[in-house]
Amino acid sequence: MYDFINANLPYLLAGISVGGQYALIAIGYTMVYGILRLINFAHGDVFTAAAYAMVYMNATLPLYISLPLTIIFTVVLGYTVERVAYKPLRSAPRMSIMISAIGVSYLLQNLMWYITGGLAQQYPTIPWISNTVTILTATTKMVTLITPVLTLVLVLLLVQLINHTKIGMAMRAVSKDFETSRLMGIKIDNVISVTFVIGSFLAAIGSMLYFTNYTAVTPTSGAMPGLKAFVAAVFGGIGSIPGAVIGAFIIGIAENIIKAVGLTTFSDAFTFALLIFVLIFKPTGLFGEVTHEKV
C-alpha cells in the first residue's frame, strides 16, 4: 500500500497541478463559447504568447515589473484578437468565425516563430513557486501545490463576479440569448470584451504556472494544452465554468495516471478518446444544457 502511494504520488500531484493549469485555460474557452458560440482556436496561442512575453520581459526587467506587465500584455492581446478578427464577423455564418480563429492561431504561431527564431526558449524561474518541496515521499516544485489552490481561489472570485455583479449578470444574459440581450440595451461589445479580458487574464496566470513546470517554450507549446483545456470545457459542459474546472482536473489526473501505467504515447490520445466518448453519449457534457432548434 505504501509502495503504491510512493510510486504514484508524483503522478497524482502532477495531475492535480496540470489539471489546475488546464482549468485556467479551459475557463477562457468555455466563457467565449457560451457567449459567442465560437471555439476560440487562438486561445492556446495567446497562452503561449504570454509565456514568451514573460521570457523576454524578464530578461530585461525585474520580476515585480515583468510579471504584471506580462498579464497586461496578454490581456491586451486577447482583446485585440477579438476586436480585429472576431467582431467583424459577428453576423457571418458560424463557420466563418471559426475559420478566422484558425487563421489567427496560424498567424500567432508564425509570428512567434519569426520573432523568436524557432529555438526553444527557457522560461525564467519565478522565485518561491519554483522551489522544490517534499510531500510525503515525492519531490516536486512548489508550483504543484500552489496551482490547485490558486485555481480554486480564482474560480471562486470569478463565480462571485458572475453571480453578484452587474457585468456578471449581463454576461449570463448574453450567453442565454444574444439577440434579446442586445435589444434590452446591454452593451454587447463591452460584455464580449470583458469575457475575453477575463479569459486572457486567467490564461496568463495559467501560463506562468504551467511553464514553471515545463520550462521549454516553443511556438507550438500551447497547442496541446490548449486543445486539452478545450476538451475539458466540452467534457464539463460547454458554457459552464464549474464544469470546465472539474473537467480539467479530471483530464489532468487521468492523463498522468496513464503515464504512470506506462502508456505515455496514449496520454494525449486518451484526452481525445474521452472527448469523443462524451460527444457521442452526452454531448452536452457533465453540466451543460440541452437546446432545441425551432423548426
Binding site: 471555439i39 478566422s100 484558425i102 492561431s105 498567424l107 520573432i115 494525449d268 469523443i276 457521442i280
Partner: protein
Amino acid sequence: MKAFKIILSLLLVVLAGFLIFYSINASDLSTLLEDIVPQETMQQDKGLQKAVKRINDSLAEANQDKTLRSLNRLLEDFSDKIQMDAEAKLDLFFYRNNKVTLAFALFILILSAALIASALLKQQKYQKAIIMAVLIAMLYSGIYIVENLVGSNSMLMTVLKKGAIYALLAVSMNLLNGFTGLFSLGQAGFMLIGAYTYAIFTIDPASRAQVYQYYDGGLVQFTLPVMVAIILAGLAAAFFAFLIGLPVLRLKSDYLAIATLGFAEIIRAIFQYDGLGPITNGSNLLRKFTTFNTALFPFAVSGICIALIALLINSTYGRSFKAIRDDEVAAEAMGINLFVHKQLAFVTSSFFAGIGGALLAMYQTTVQAAAFTSAMTYEILLIVVIGGMGSISGSVLASFLFVASSEWWLRFLDNVTYIGTFKVPLLRSGFRMVVFSVIIMAVVLFYRKGIMGDKEFSLKRLLEPRKGGKRRG
C-alpha cells in the same frame, strides 16, 4: 468558318508531320557526327577522337542523358573544329529537344483533331467537351515540355508537383466542408492513413530490414504495384472514415469539428505507438518506397481524382449534398436520407484524402506520423476558404497560389537583404510565413467568399460582357 477550321487543322497536321519526321530523322546521332566532324580533323586531334568515342559509348549503353552531356561537351570544347551547316544545326536542335518536339507535335495533332471535331459537331455540349479536351491536352503537354526544358528539380516544377497534390487535398476537403456543409477537421488523419498504407506496401524489399531496423524487418514482407498501393491507400482511409462516421456524423457542426479533430489526433498517436512498430515503424520514419520523378504523375492522378469528384458533385448525389448544406431539415423532409448521404460525402472525401496522402508520401520520399498534425488540416482548410467554399476550380487555383507563395514567391522575405549598406528591416527567416498568414487573415475577414465564391471557372463568363441578374455560369 467550317472550311477555315478544316484547312487550319490540315495545316497543323502537316506541321506536326514535319516535326515528327525531323525528330525521328535526327535521332540517328552517328550519321550526324559524321557530318559535323570532318574525318581529317578527327584523325589529327586525339582529344576530339576521345570526345567522339565517349559519345558513341553512351549511345551503345543507350544512356540518353550521358549521350546528351557528352555531345554538349564536344560542341563546347571543340567548337572551332566542327563544321556546322544549316542542316546540321537543324538536326542537332531536333536531336537535343527530341522529347519536347514530339510532345509538341502530339499536342498539335490533338489540336487539329479538335478543330475538325469542332467543325463537324455543332452541338453545345460537344463544343464544350472539345474545348475541355484541348485545355487538358495543353496542360499535360505543357507540363511535360516545361519539365524537360527547366529540369525536374527546379522551383517551378516543385511548386507544380506540390500544388497538384494540395489541389486534390483541397478539393476533397471542399467536397465535405464546402459542398455538404460538414465542418470536419480530420483531414490530416486520413492523409496519414493513406500515406502509411501506400508506403508500407511499396518499400523496396531489399531495404525493409534496414528501414524497420528496430522491429526485425517489419511484418509486411511483400510489395504491391504502385497503382494498387495508391488505391489501397484510398480504401484504407475510406474504411476508417466509415467507422468514424457512424458515431460522429450525428453531431452538430461545432461538435463534429472537434470530434473529427480528436480522431485525427488519436490516429496520429496510434501510428506512433511502439506496439504497432512491426507495421508502422513506430515513431521512426518510413522511407525507401516507390516515388515518382516526373510532375506528370501527380498531375495525372490528381486530375483523374478531381474529375471524379467534379462528376459526383454535378450528379444527383451532389445536388443532395448541396441541399443538406443549405437546409438539413428541409432536405430530410424532401426524402433525402441524411445519414446515408453524409456518410457518402465523408467516406468519399476521406478516400481522396488518403490518395492525396499517398501522393504526398511519394513527393516527400519519407513519411512520419508526427508531421501529420492538425496544422496540416488547417492549411488545407485555409486553402479551401481562399479559393471559395463550394468551388472546385477555386480550390485548385488557391492550392497553386498557396504553394507558389509559400514556397517560392515570398521566399525573398526570408532573406536578409541589404540595399547598399542599409539593412532592410524585418526581412529575415520566418517573415515569409508571417506575411502569408496576414494575407490569409485579410482574405478571411474581407473576402469571405474567397476567390471564386461558390462558382466555377467558366471561359464563357470571362469573355462575356458584364450582365446583371442571372446567376448561372
